[in-house]
Amino acid sequence: MTSWDRFTDSFFNARVAAEYLPKIIDGFWLTIALALCIIATGLTAGLALAVIRSFSIRPLNWLIIFVVDLFRALPPLVIIALLYFGLPSAGLTMDGFTATWLSLSFVLMAFTEEIFWAGITAVPRGQWEAARSTGLGFLPTLGHVVLPQAIRMTIPPLTNRTIAITKGTALGSVVAVSEILGAAQAGVSFSFNPTPLTLGALAYVVLFVPVVIFGRWIETRFAWKR
């Protein structure tokens, strides 16, 4: 056996690939489900915190800033480990999927709160004044005038951050979530062959290249009409 044969036998082994492809595909769907859950809760919670922050209630804003800075500072894996391995000793157990979903949602929430908040503060004061001068209240002004502009401005950093966090779903493999990486690693252990990892890498490419392209499309789609 030449070294080239050994290489292809290790990474592109057709028999192993055929055997573990279904598992990787299962992992593929699980990754998508996990990512969608994280995006839904993370973005919603981040937007909600930014909106609450715009009310300028001082103690509440201190709390928001503290929570946001905390989750931006902690490595996501540490949060996952705390929830999955730490909470049971406090009498609260959760499965790996929930732990990963919650952890990455917190992280995405923290980053998107900062992004949305930067967007809200970047909308000129004159926009508030014009809307308020027509009798529009605080919340309708925020909803109809300020947020649409803030969100448009923040689409590029938002897509980048969302993609970065959803790739973190691979961390779920540490807490027994059989998403793509988890399924691939299990395949490697059972087959004594790294081909499932190749499949896993392929699955990530298939999943995230369209997401990146979609992100680029959405950035141009939301540019100002001139």
């Binding site: 014009a130 308020r132 027509t134 009798g135 100002w224 001139r226």
Partner: protein
């Protein structure tokens, strides 16, 4: 003077240690066009912004169209519908068309249905001679056109008083005419207007009264012919002299 439609009395405004309005009175009669002039920093814009409470006065009383603007019980959003405001920087909503800009408050504040709001918005745009620009976004309009959309946005709510905060200061000279024309038309329709501006020629031609402010106080006021032609105070003379030299 008949009962004034705008009665601001004893207005004080502090910005921290800065005392920018010192016991200012401004009474405006119905259908009157009052021009407020003065050097920058004299407090004229602040006074204007106090009238609809975009700026919170530190003291005094403001009654507009019978409503006590500073009373705790006053629904400020309701009161503001009677007071249209036009800003130096236009402040159009960039994500909405001209029509959308005018329609927003008609829909969300006055609760008009879509058909009626659109009809009123188109009528307001026609009044400022922009019926054919309804579907344009602010970024596709000239500064003068944007300011006229802003005027349409304010008059569509059928206010009793219009406030203009340096409406032509951000415009290229050749675009000023269209905005002044829209203001003239509004004046002829009998709108009560308070205008902070340096358009002296317009003030001479259209204003009923000119109020000269300096250092947060009203120094002198009267018909344009007397304030411009025969100013009584040294500060007014100096200011008018400076303006006329340009």
């Amino acid at each position: 003077m008949a009962a004034p439609i705008v009665a601001a009395t004893g207005i004080h405004k502090h910005f921290g240690a800065l005392h920018v309005l010192k016991n200012v009175d401004l009474l405006v009669a119905e259908r009157e066009l009052v021009f407020v002039i003065g050097p920058s920093g004299s407090g004229k814009s602040t006074l204007l912004r106090c009238l609809n409470r975009l700026e919170e006065p530190s003291g005094g009383s403001i009654i507009v169209d019978g409503i006590d603007m500073l009373a705790r019980s006053t629904d400020i959003n309701k009161a503001r519908q009677r007071i249209g405001m036009v800003f130096q920087q236009f402040n159009l909503y960039p994500h909405m068309t001209a029509l959308g800009n005018v329609m927003l408050a008609l829909r969300k504040v006055q609760g008009k249905d879509k058909t009626e709001a659109e009809a009123r918005a188109r009528a307001a745009l026609a009044r400022v001679d922009l019926a054919d620009r309804a579907e344009h976004f602010p970024g596709q309009l000239s500064g003068g056109q944007q300011q006229r959309v802003a005027i349409a946005r304010a008059i569509a709510l059928e206010p009793r008083v219009m406030l203009f905060d340096e409406p032509t200061s951000a415009l290229d000279p050749e675009l000023v005419g269209g905005v002044l024309q829209a203001m003239r038309e509004l004046r002829e329709s009998g709108m009560t207007m308070v205008v902070v501006s340096h358009e002296m020629a317009f003030a001479r031609a259209a204003a009923d009264r000119v109020v000269f402010m300096a250092d947060g106080q009203v120094v002198e006021q009267g018909p344009p012919a007397s304030v411009f032609g025969n100013p009584q105070h040294e500060r007014t003379r100096a200011f008018i002299g400076q303006i006329e030299r340009h």
